[in-house]
Symmetry: C2
Subunit: 309 residues, 2 copies
């Protein structure tokens, strides 16, 4: 018998099965529910390929059984408001007392998503960086009805399972992760559009430059550590440059997705990586991320004790 | 006697000494020149702390001796046009035949920088990601006069020394690396300005999310691998979302550097990391980046042979 509480995942697609693996790995009893037998079958096959023992995740099409006794229910339905709201109506009668319901949505706003929902004081968004069993960042967004305890419990649960939750105080389109990604991706594509560098060379700037630090420290800490006087000094010296670049970027290209740049990037990618090697490269990427996480979880052996790690 | 050709570094500050360490580590004879005896002294001390043997880098205030026989001269002077042009005038008489002169400038445009320069067909920008001995990305930008061979030789030299050069076909303010960084940083600060998340939570989105992939693959490869059909399919599905976010970002905040957000970030950083631990955290960051580079240089042991690594 496990000391950890039960988790229920609604929807057995790419995200649901990844959550299932994550929580099972952390020692939780896990139920993975889907109405689609084929989806459950694929999830079962995938979970075994990840090394999950049979029975560590209970795959089921019985909603009441999946939800019975679960303290946290993670909903991974399609990104359509009416589908998700139908799911909430269906699960409401079967929820254990005090259960928290979190949605994996990347786009729907909690104040809209949970309006009219019977358990809206115990519901919130917990948007993973996909797939969550590899990438620990998870965005938590409460609605106007969410009780502070529900948010705090979800944060603790995620942290105990190895995730690194961040809390949105206010919801904007794309939340935080996708807005940051979009900012960089849009500029990368605008550089291609303007003939500044080849796509492969732009990738070098990240994977052999910016990304080596961002693997360990975020943008604010990066700037903070790049000035002897910390972020305040950095902002004084470089703030004007960043503000000027922001204006310059906005002015140059109306929409980098509308021109020839996307096709140029696609052609460059296929020249670098034929589609026949695409799946193998995905597996390589995931294996590298796992190695990086192990590295991050291991203190630097030669480092002085008491140093910040 | 080394089989590798001699490298001369002009300017012994943070960037010059890092280049010196990089090229010495790669087996080049290295001369590090500065007119400031104190700067040479600090560089000498730093190089020994990195494990350099005495004599592996010759520190000198004799310009002719520094340049004698050097095939590559890396200029790391202050970021002021007239200072750099005075340096070029001073070094011109002492350059070995066929030497390439590269500037570490992050902002000056090669067509302006090398105008009137006696060796402008052998001069270019080679802007490192600082410090270069830790971060391999280096941006190469030719002027209108730069011979193709000078660019090709610099690219080969950098690659042989362990760097990962990217070539700018056209120069925009900030080149590629700083434009990509600025895009993300400006949005991060705008999120603080709008009260979307605390600075520390925004850092989580990168160091526990986006940065884990960007440590290995750039933004285009990230998108390419995130769709079963590759980048072309990804652009069809998500291009509209990225374009919409770009408009949304431009419209919300005129200048995130002008309001209270920089002070809020500075306060958050000091709450997370007191200034007394700042230098130790810098050392931790550098040690982590070194570990990551070793990880990237080591093939995945359990991985099938013939897989893309």
């Amino acid at each position: 018998m496990s000391a950890k509480p039960k988790i229920a995942l609604i929807g057995a697609g790419l995200i649901g099965r990844s959550w299932a693996h994550l929580f099972a790995r952390a020692g939780h009893p896990v139920a993975l529910y889907d109405t689609d037998a084929a989806a459950l079958d694929r999830a079962d096959h995938w979970l075994r390929a990840q090394g999950e023992q049979p029975g560590s995740v209970v795959l089921t099409d019985d909603l009441a059984a999946a939800l019975a006794g679960a303290v946290h229910v993670q909903e991974n339905g399609p990104e359509r408001l009416e589908v998700k709201q139908a799911i909430y109506a269906a699960i409401a009668p079967h929820l254990a007392p005090g259960a928290v319901v979190a949605s994996s949505t990347s786009a729907l706003v909690p104040d809209v998503l949970f309006e009219g929902c019977a358990f809206r004081d115990r519901a919130l968004v917990a948007h993973p960086t996909n797939p969550p069993h590899l990438l620990p960042a998870v965005e938590l967004a409460a609605s106007r009805w969410t009780a502070g305890e529900a948010l705090a419990e979800t944060r603790s649960l995620m942290q105990a399972a190895g995730q690194d939750p961040l809390v949105l105080k206010r919801v904007l389109p794309g939340f935080v992760v996708n807005r940051l990604q979009a900012a960089l991706v849009n500029e990368a594509l605008a550089l291609v559009e303007q003939g500044v560098a080849d796509p492969e060379d732009i990738d070098i700037a990240v994977r052999s430059g910016l990304g080596l630090r961002w693997a360990f420290i975020g943008p604010f800490e990066t700037m903070d550590l790049n000035a002897a006087g910390g972020f305040g000094q950095y902002a004084q010296v470089f703030g004007g440059m960043f503000a000027a670049l922001r204006q310059d970027m906005a002015a140059r290209v109306p929409d980098p997705w509308a021109g020839d740049a996307p096709a140029e990037v696609a052609a460059s990618r296929r020249a670098t990586l034929p589609m026949g090697a695409h799946a193998a490269r995905q597996a390589w990427r995931d294996a590298q991320v796992l190695r990086l996480r192990q590295l991050k979880d291991t203190p630097i052996p030669t480092f002085p004790k008491g140093s910040p790690q």
